[in-house]
């Protein structure tokens, strides 16, 4: 933690000398300067691309090493001895190596003979120099000797099995070789019929993988692999003896072609990229982009190869040319995908008949120039939609100032989608390529079933792990990642209870009934129509989950037990079950508390109207603004309206009974007042003196109370009015906006009036000018996104439970959450609190607060220039701005809300905690656990603290909010004072008062950590600098004087003071560390 104290970026001034700045430009320099703006958008992008390319490209030095290695490997493989003939079913000759092919059915005709390869060629991205440095995959294509082949090898998986056993034999041979450290198998592109060998070399190259593919020496005839042809016989596969139906086998055919077309495609790409280095760079950038979005993972993914072929296609249709920069190529690439539709209008060739034939058999069509093979054969339509959507959002992001980072740097893991449904491995065993063949029907069912409830439905296909050569290959139910669907809900319709279908007598009605099954029923609607419809009898937010379960069970036969959902489990954290505590008081609410907020808002609006209509005031109230988080639904646990209360002791003030807290009696329940600020119409007769202003405001409060007394119980104090309406306590205060100026103004000696900020004026401005502004802006966000409030509440609950209460104020959290909702790129706006919270954790743990400000753009008002201006101002004034700097429309240059915290140390701790919590939550979500219980993330670790102060829970009125709280069973001794119109104890939280006292006395010595939501511990952490001896002066406090005239903290008496200050509240004090012993 110490190291953070003096961490600041050293900003060097970029100053060129006069002669450097004004020397005559060379031609080259001129073109360079102009080119940057025309080809890259800006200098910055050009330089950034240069940097990122240097980071992701494979260096020349490394290529030399790899090339050397490949030569020696080539010699080894060429020298593999031949083997005599066996049958294809006999795997004994493979020795310890398990046959890397799931044989289903087991029996197949044909013989296998191994002859040394004819040739070995380097193919793929390594050869083209478009590979990425991070995981170097070198593809070697082994040309199998024609002697191994037989007639009819293309039939019934014979070629694939032959290929697998050929590669397995090579793997066995390589296994013992000195050149090789590890040999594994994996499925190429997660196709279970195409195992490849992974060879890992020894040390200097151990991060690279060499993949061995195989192909026949003589090409098969192309006509046999048209999508409509049959190459796997029904009777063989089902081991039946019926009449052969000759079903087309498009997928199988495509796979057969892949091996033999590898080389021709490589040649094409090679020609395109020759003398066109920007082409290669563009491929690298796009690959990075795909990787960040995990679009290149799983079965039928959008691989880097597809991207390269697409660029080649763009080159042939003149969408790009070789004068373009990589930035422009990438832009055009996004543009092309975003506007394309390969589901109906495939691309790649001009031959309409060929395209049509492919469309008949594949969902997504992108064929090669001669119409031989479909690159997107396995791609589910949903995945293509996802790619298109990502391209579209990246295209818009590229034009924004922070776009580069969003598109290429920021990692966008799959989990941060809106709603996830995973299908796990407990499915009924039906054999074969079950998952692959089900994807289409499942996604159709989901898309149809959810209809307008979703905006976008994405799919993340399953994938398999590598396996060792001594293990059996994984079958379809041993996937490493489950098939998962991500749903981007449409907030307007997603939670509708009713699914209205076609009218009963129409032709579609039968279809509708078929699809929905028994849950479909006839209903009469208000307009008199009688329609088929489905009514979901569950709570609004559960509807999408229920739809998914029902639809998948009915149309695909997948039982709900095989599904796992990640939806709203995180909202459990902000529910507070309604219960009655001692003396009949009620805490908590049913549901998530949204209802409390709705009623509170309604009361507030009525109150505001009453205030505006007040008659007896000399000036009318023009503006009423509620500033409490409750009104924007961002208070963790809003105080519910109270009912009859039985009070312990009351006093009477100005005719109103007030409950008071009395030591020795039970603690009154916690009531958080709703803060309301009123301002009056303008007038010239306000005094210009702070003391007089204070009294005049009090006079207004008295006048308001006098008029409102008959309507509501209310009392006034010097600076506010407490008022009860509908069971809510409102704290109303009068505001005079010019008071800020009054505080700022002072006269210099020369008699000049100067306006300068003072500590008090800044504080006041924040409270009476900026807070109302911010409240209304945040209220706007709350109304735009209905999950925003819940997201803020969950986030605050998390921060509090990490014992960081008081270090980060409510407004900062609200602003950070609104940033996540307002600038979601590269994602979409979160649709549920869970997604919002996950994004928050991800954002906090990864965002570089040190060198970037958080710019919250309410109402989309800021232009690119504005944002650039904010960034430059931020960078030049970094040292004077707080660790988390949040600018918004109203505060473009300063960050008033985060000045009081978090400090650098706290920010660092928050980042660490966020990372840990995120890992825990993702583990729960992807672990496909049935019972996701996020409450476990709320357990704070106490190991970091030096002293732990334990408090007596009887006097903690908020103890009920804690997870750990267990109510004691005891008889509610009836208290005789029942009081209906009595003002409850407002805003009285001994824990908070104790912390305030501690901070006032010991803030130089220690930091205090606590949880306002019912925690009963205070963690104390000594500041690292606290124990250095300091010279004595009159303001030295809580210390003892040493012989040498320096002072050091007097820890025993400080600990004693902890006890004395918290007399009656402190239970015990544990000293954990003895860091203070000097």
């Amino acid at each position: 933690m110490e190291s953070l104290e003096n961490e600041a970026i050293p900003r060097k001034k970029s100053k060129l000398t006069y002669s450097e700045l004004y020397k005559p430009p060379t031609n080259e320099e001129l073109t360079n300067l102009h080119e940057t703006t025309s080809m890259f958008g800006s200098n910055l992008v050009k330089l950034q691309i240069k940097e990122i390319l240097a980071e992701i490209s494979i260096s020349k030095k490394q290529r030399l090493l790899i090339d050397d290695y490949l030569h020696s490997l080539h010699d080894v493989i060429m020298a593999v001895p031949s083997r005599e003939q066996t049958t294809l079913n006999d795997h004994r000759w493979l020795g310890n190596v398990r046959f890397p092919f799931v044989e289903n059915p087991r029996r197949v005709k044909g013989n296998m003979i191994f002859m040394a390869p004819v040739d070995i060629k380097v193919v793929g991205s390594y050869q083209l120099d478009t590979g990425l440095n991070q995981h170097v995959d070198v593809d070697l294509l082994i040309v199998m000797s024609q002697a191994c082949m037989q007639e009819k090898d293309i039939m019934n998986q014979r070629y694939f099995r032959k290929r697998a056993s050929y590669l397995a034999y090579i793997a066995d041979y390589l296994h013992g070789n000195d050149l090789v450290s590890k040999v594994n198998f994996s499925y190429f592109c997660d196709e279970t019929m195409k195992p490849v060998v992974h060879v890992t070399p020894h040390d200097p190259l151990k991060h690279i993988t060499i993949r061995l593919h195989a192909r026949p020496e003589v090409d098969f005839k192309l006509e046999r692999f048209l999508p409509s042809k049959n190459n796997v016989r029904w009777n063989w596969f089902h081991e039946s003896k019926d009449e052969e139906p000759f079903h087309p086998t498009p997928h199988y055919n495509n796979l057969m072609l892949m091996d033999q077309l590898m080389e021709p495609h490589l040649t094409l790409l090679h020609q395109s990229s020759k003398d066109f280095p920007e082409f290669k760079n563009a491929i690298k950038l796009i690959k990075t982009w795909l990787h960040q979005r995990e679009l290149n993972k799983g079965f039928g993914c959008f691989s880097g190869f597809i991207a390269s072929m697409l660029l080649h296609h763009l080159l042939t249709i003149n969408k790009i040319n070789n004068t373009m920069s990589s930035f422009q190529i990438v832009r055009n690439f996004f543009q092309f995908i975003a506007t394309s539709d390969w589901k109906t209008h495939g691309i790649g060739t001009n031959n309409e008949t060929i395209l049509k034939e492919f469309h008949d058999h594949h969902e997504v069509v992108f064929v090669d120039g001669e119409g031989r093979i479909n690159f997107c054969a396995g791609m589910p339509a949903l995945l293509y939609d996802l790619v298109r959507h990502e391209a579209e959002s990246s295209l818009t992001a590229l034009d924004s100032p922070q776009g580069f980072n969003v598109v290429f740097i920021v990692c966008k893991p799959k989990l941060l989608k809106q709603l996830r449904v995973s299908i796990d491995r407990k499915l009924a065993d039906t054999g074969g390529q079950y998952i692959t063949s089900m994807i289409t029907s499942m996604s159709d069912a989901l898309v149809h079933g959810l209809g307008h409830r979703v905006v976008l439905c994405g799919v993340r296909t399953h994938s398999y792990k590598q396996w060792s050569i001594n293990e059996n290959p994984p079958t379809w139910y041993q996937v490493s990642t489950c098939l998962s669907f991500g749903l981007n809900l449409n907030e307007d319709f997603a939670f509708d209870q009713l699914e209205k279908g076609p009218s009963a007598d129409s032709a579609e009605a039968t279809k509708f009934r078929d699809f929905w099954g028994e849950v479909s029923e006839l209903r009469r609607f208000k307009d008199g129509s009688v329609c088929e419809s489905v009514l979901w009898g569950v709570g609004g937010r559960e509807v999408p989950t229920h739809v998914c379960k029902h639809v998948l069970l009915r149309n695909c036969g997948i039982p709900p037990s095989a599904l796992s959902f990640s939806t709203n489990q995180v909202e459990d954290l902000i529910t507070l079950p309604r219960k009655r505590i001692q003396y009949g008081k009620v805490i908590g609410y049913s549901g998530t508390g949204d209802e409390v907020v709705t009623t509170a808002t309604r009361s507030y609006n009525e109150l505001a109207r009453t205030l505006r209509d007040l008659k007896t005031l000399p000036l009318t109230i023009t503006h009423v603004q509620g500033v409490s988080p409750v009104l924007r639904n961002t208070e963790v646990y809003p105080t519910p309206p109270f009912e009859t209360i039985r009070v312990v002791r009351t006093i009477e003030v100005g005719g109103v009974k007030r409950e008071i807290p009395v030591p020795g009696e039970p603690c009154p329940a916690f009531t958080q007042p709703i803060q309301v600020q009123c301002s009056l119409e303008g007038s010239g007769s306000w005094p210009q003196d702070p003391h007089a202003l204070r009294r005049l405001k009090a006079a207004f409060h008295i006048a308001i109370v006098d008029e409102l007394k008959p309507l509501f119980p209310c009392v006034t104090s010097q600076s506010y009015i407490d008022l009860i309406k509908d069971g809510f306590v409102f704290r109303i205060s009068m505001v005079y906006p010019r008071e800020v100026v009054v505080l700022q103004t002072h006269r210099t000696k020369e008699g000049m009036v100067r306006v300068r900020d003072t500590k008090e004026s800044i504080e006041l401005e924040k409270n009476i000018v900026k807070l109302p502004q911010l409240s209304s802006l945040l209220q706007g966000v709350h109304q735009r996104f209905h999950s925003f409030g819940r997201c803020c509440r969950v986030t605050k609950r998390w921060i509090n439970s990490m014992m960081l209460s008081g270090h980060i104020n409510d407004e900062v959290v609200d602003l950070l959450c609104s940033f996540i909702y307002l600038s979601p790129s590269p994602y979409n706006t979160p649709g549920s609190a869970q997604v919002g919270f996950l994004r928050f954790l991800h954002f906090v743990s990864t965002f570089d607060f040190n060198s970037t400000p958080v710019v919250v753009d309410f109402n989309d008002e800021l232009t690119n220039e504005d944002i650039n201006h904010i960034h430059t101002h931020f960078l030049t004034n970094r040292t004077s701005l707080p660790p988390i700097s949040i600018m918004n429309n109203k505060d473009r240059l300063a960050s008033p809300w985060s000045t009081s915290g978090p400090s650098k140390i706290i920010l660092r701790r928050m980042k660490d905690l966020a990372r840990i919590s995120l890992v825990k939550m993702e583990g729960q979500i992807s672990g496909a656990d049935k019972d996701i219980n996020f409450k476990t993330i709320l357990n704070p670790s106490l190991s970091a603290y030096d002293v732990i102060i334990r408090l007596k829970s009887q006097w903690l009125p908020r103890r009920f909010e804690s997870e750990q709280y267990k109510p004691l069973k005891r008889n509610n001794t009836d208290c005789s004072n029942v009081c209906n119109d009595c003002l409850p104890v407002v805003n009285f939280d001994p824990m908070q008062l104790y912390i305030d006292d501690l901070k006032a006395s010991f803030s130089e010595l220690a930091m205090f950590f606590y949880d306002t939501n019912g925690g009963c511990l205070v963690g104390v952490l000594w500041k690292p600098t606290a124990f250095q001896p300091k010279p004595f002066n009159a303001s030295s406090s809580s210390c003892i004087l040493q012989q040498d005239g320096n002072v050091v903290p007097d820890v025993p008496s400080v600990i004693e003071d902890f006890k004395i200050l918290g007399d009656g509240l402190v239970d015990s004090i544990d000293l954990i560390s003895n860091k203070w012993k000097i």
């Binding site: 970026i9 970029s14 700045l21 004004y22 430009p25 001129l30 300067l33 800006s42 200098n43 910055l44 950034q48 940097e51 990122i52 980071e55 992701i56 990787h291 290429f408 740097i409 990692c411 006093i651 003030v653 100005g654 007030r658 008071i660 030591p663 003196d689 003391h691 009294r695 009090a698 006079a699 008295i702 006034t716 104090s717 010097q718 000049m752 100067r754 306006v755 040190n850 060198s851 960078l875 006097w955 104890v985 009285f988 001994p990 305030d996 006292d997 006032a1000 006395s1001 009159a1034 303001s1035 030295s1036 809580s1038 004087l1041 008496s1053 004693e1056 003071d1057 004395i1060 007399d1063 009656g1064 509240l1065």
Partner: protein, 259 residues
């Protein structure tokens, strides 16, 4: 006796008889010719004016006990009253204790010789801290509305009268030269002066600058055009250099690690 004023006396105090550790008060003699003042620092948060009065009253008659947060920051409390109290002094504080005569100070110095800690609470005067204090504070926060109203009215009447009097004086003195013959310019009358504020001063300066700028002419001579072109290139270069620095900073922050 020269350095008597710089000597730091230490006084041990205890909150209760049962407390195991003591607090140390640091006391310096700040006496001037006719003032017999001790500056007490490191006073714990629960020690208030009354406690100090009781403790130091043992040494002699006290004239004043003034409690402050810091040594040199006197609080301006002439505008406060029971209903509008000054902000509470929280945490550790210092106090100036004025004795009637030098006797008290000598008595005090004598007493510091013994090492026995002084008790700041006993059976009759208990410390009010923690829960008891918070509850009391909560009750005190609520003033009596009638008294509050009375005080506010009284104060505002006085204030209004004061303002009125000032105004009348100003009007009465308008245009009348003072002893040295200067006339004060006021905001009233036909020749009202501009009020002397910083904003006004800045405004007039800005106006002047604008005027001067309007008189300049550009793009007339060849050299001016050439100059502006040169300027443009220089700007581009400067921007380029700045961007390079930014990239450097990003590189240091390891921003170019996409994986």
């Amino acid at each position: 006796m020269e350095n008597q004023n710089n000597k730091v006396y230490q006084l041990k105090i205890k909150a209760h008889a049962s407390c195991s550790s003591c607090h140390t008060l640091f006391i310096t003699n700040k006496s001037k010719l006719n003032e017999h003042v001790l500056l007490v620092s490191n006073i714990p948060p629960y020690c208030n004016q009354h406690t100090l009065h009781r403790l130091f009253g043992k040494c002699g008659n006290l004239l004043e006990v003034r409690v402050q947060k810091h040594e040199n920051k006197p609080i301006n409390d002439d505008q406060t009253s029971d209903n509008f109290p000054p902000p509470q002094i929280l945490g550790y504080k210092v106090a100036f204790i004025t004795f009637q005569s030098n006797k008290g100070i000598n008595e005090f110095i004598k007493k510091t010789k013994s090492t026995d800690p002084w008790l700041i609470s006993n059976e009759s005067t208990k410390l009010i801290t923690g829960l008891r204090r918070w509850c009391l504070d909560y009750i005190h926060e609520q003033p009596d509305p009638d008294k509050l109203k009375l005080e506010v009215d009284e104060y505002m009447n006085k204030y209004d009268a004061k303002v009125k009097q000032e105004q009348e004086e100003e009007i009465a003195n308008d245009g009348i030269p003072d002893d040295e013959g200067w006339v004060k310019v006021s905001s009233r009358g036909r020749n009202a002066g501009v009020s002397r504020t910083e904003t006004n001063q800045k405004k007039s300066k800005r106006k002047e600058k604008k005027k001067r700028k309007q008189n300049d002419m550009f793009s007339i001579y060849k050299y001016q055009i050439r100059e502006s072109k040169r300027q443009k290139i220089a700007e581009l270069r400067e921007k380029f250099e700045e961007d390079k620095l930014r990239i450097q900073a990003m590189k240091e922050a390891r921003k170019f690690r996409p994986f």
